[in-house]
Amino acid sequence: MKKLTRFFLTTGEISEFAGRYFREAWFPPYEIQELLKQCFLIGNKSFALVSITGLIMGIVLTLQTRPTLIEFGAVSMMPSMVGIAIVREIGPVLTALICAGKIGSGIGAELASMKVTEQIDAMEVSGANPFKYLVITRVTATTIMIPILVVLSDIISLSGSALVEYLKGGVSFELYFSKVFEYLQFGDLLPSVIKSFFFGFAIGIIGCYKGYTSTRGTEGVGRTANEAVVIASMLVFILDFIAVLVSDIFYEL
C-alpha cells in the first residue's frame, strides 16, 4: 500500500516536473549554446554504441529468419519483413533503451552531483535559472537527438541485413533497398519517428527529474543514475505499448 502511494506520488511529481518544462521552455533566455553542446554530447556519446547494436541486430535478425523464409519459399520477402520489423519496432525501442542506459544515467548522475555539491543552489542564488540552464536544455536535446539516432540505427540495421542477403543470397544493395521501400510506407515511418520523440523526452525528463530532486548526498548519486535508467527503460516500453495501440486504431480507420 505504501509502495502504491509512493508510485502515484512520484508519478504526480514527474508530471509536475514535465509541466514546468512546458511552462518555461517557451520564454527567454534561451540557452542555445548549452543546448547545442548537449546535443553534440548525446550524439558523440551514443553514436558508436547505437551503430554497433543496430548493425548486429540487422545481421542477426536476417540470419535467424533466413532458414524459415527459405522453407516457405518466401526469402524474397526478407527486405520487406526485416525493414518493417526494424523501422517500426526494433530500431526505436533498441535505440531508446541504449540511450536510457547511456544518456539517462549520465544526466541523472551529473545533476545529482551538482545538487549535492550545491551547484544548483549556487545558480539559483546568483539569479540565474538553473531549471532553464540544466533541465530545459537537456530534455530538449534528448527529444531532438533520440529520433535522429533512431533513423541512424534503422539505416545501419538495414545495411547489415542487406549485407547478409548480399553474401548469402547474392542480392544487390540496390535491389534490397528498393524492396524495402516498396513495402515500407509513410504510415510505418511516421508513427515510429513520433514515438521516438516521446522516448527522447521521457529519457531526458526522467534523468533530469531524478538528478534535480536527488537529496541523498554523494552516495545517492550512483543510486540516482541507476533509478533513472530503470524508470526510463520502463517508460520506453509503456510508451511503445501506447504507441502501438494508438497506431492500431489509425490503421483500422
Binding site: E118, D121, A122, M123, E124, V125, S126, G127, A128, N129
Partner: protein
C-alpha cells in the same frame, strides 16, 4: 586593536539584515528557535556555533533557499518570505553567497564560472568588454588572475574558495554571506582568506555575515560575534569581550 578604525560601520540607519524571533524546524528537528540578529551597514559579523547548530540553515533562510517557519526576516528592508520570484531575484542580485563547499560549476572554466551569473542576470546587462573587465577585476581582487582558464578540478581547496569569492564579488553585492570560508584550509591559507575578507569589507564597503568554526578567522575578520547555541543567539559581543566571559558554552569555543 580595534577594527572599527579601518572603516565606518553605520549604526544609525536601519540594519541591512534584521532578524527577530526566527523559527525553523525540519520535521521534529527544531533548528532555529527564536533567533535574533541585526547586521549593520559596513559591518562584519561572525556567527559561531557547533556543527549542526543551524548556521548554514540561518544564511540559507536569509538568501531564500530555505523557507522560514515563523519570525521577522528583513533583508535590505524587504521581508524575504513574502517576495515573489522576481523580487527575490532582484534582492539576491545584491547579496553574495559563498557556499561551504565553494560550489564552483565543475563543467566550466574559472572564467565561465565568473561570467555565468553576470551573463544571465535579468537585471544586469553588460557588454562583452565590460564583462572582460569585471572578470579580470574580480580575479585580481582575490589574487588569482593566472587561474582564469583553469577548470575547478585543477584548483586547490584554498583557490576554490578564492574563486568562489571572486564569483560573488563580480555581482558587486551589498551584503556577503560566507559559509565557513576557512574550513579545510591550513592555518596560513586560512589567515590569507581571513585577511581577504577584511580587504573586501574595506574596499567594497560590504556588510558580511561570516559563519565560522575558526577562532583566528573570527578574530581577524569580524567586528562583532554571535554565538549560535540551541537555536538562539546565545551571546553577542566583540571577540575580545567574548574571550573574557566566564560562561562554559562560550569558553568551549575559545580553547
Amino acid at each position: 586593536m580595534s577594527y572599527d578604525m579601518q572603516h565606518s560601520i553605520d549604526y544609525k540607519t536601519a540594519p541591512v539584515i534584521d532578524i527577530e524571533g526566527l523559527y525553523k524546524a525540519f520535521g521534529s528537528n527544531r533548528v532555529l528557535q527564536g533567533f535574533n540578529l541585526k547586521l549593520w551597514a559596513g559591518e562584519n559579523l561572525a556567527v559561531m556555533g557547533k556543527s549542526g547548530s543551524g548556521k548554514s540553515v540561518l544564511i540559507k533562510c536569509i538568501i531564500g533557499l530555505v523557507r522560514i517557519d515563523q519570525g521577522k526576516l528583513l533583508v535590505l528592508d524587504q521581508a524575504v518570505d513574502q517576495l515573489n520570484l522576481r523580487e527575490l531575484d532582484r534582492l539576491r542580485s545584491q547579496i553574495g553567497f559563498q557556499f561551504q563547499g565553494s560550489a564552483l560549476y565543475d563543467s566550466m572554466t574559472v572564467r565561465e564560472n565568473l561570467e555565468f551569473p553576470l551573463k544571465r542576470h535579468p537585471l544586469k546587462q553588460v557588454t562583452e568588454k565590460e564583462l572582460e573587465l569585471l572578470v579580470t577585476e574580480a580575479l585580481e581582487a582575490v589574487g588569482l588572475l593566472n587561474a582564469i582558464n583553469m577548470m575547478p578540478s585543477e584548483l586547490s581547496g584554498g583557490m576554490k574558495k578564492r574563486i568562489a569569492l571572486a564569483r560573488t564579488l563580480i555581482m558587486q553585492p551589498k551584503i556577503i554571506l560566507y559559509d565557513e570560508p576557512t574550513s579545510g584550509l591550513d592555518p596560513v591559507t586560512a589567515k590569507e582568506i581571513s585577511l581577504l575578507i577584511n580587504e573586501v569589507q574595506n574596499r567594497f564597503h560590504t556588510a558580511s555575515i561570516i559563519i565560522t568554526h575558526d577562532l583566528a578567522c573570527a578574530r581577524i575578520s569580524s567586528n562583532r560575534m554571535i554565538i549560535l547555541h540551541n537555536g538562539i543567539n546565545y551571546a553577542e559581543a566583540t571577540y575580545t569581550q567574548l574571550g573574557t566571559m566566564k560562561d562554559g558554552v562560550i569558553q568551549a569555543f575559545f580553547v
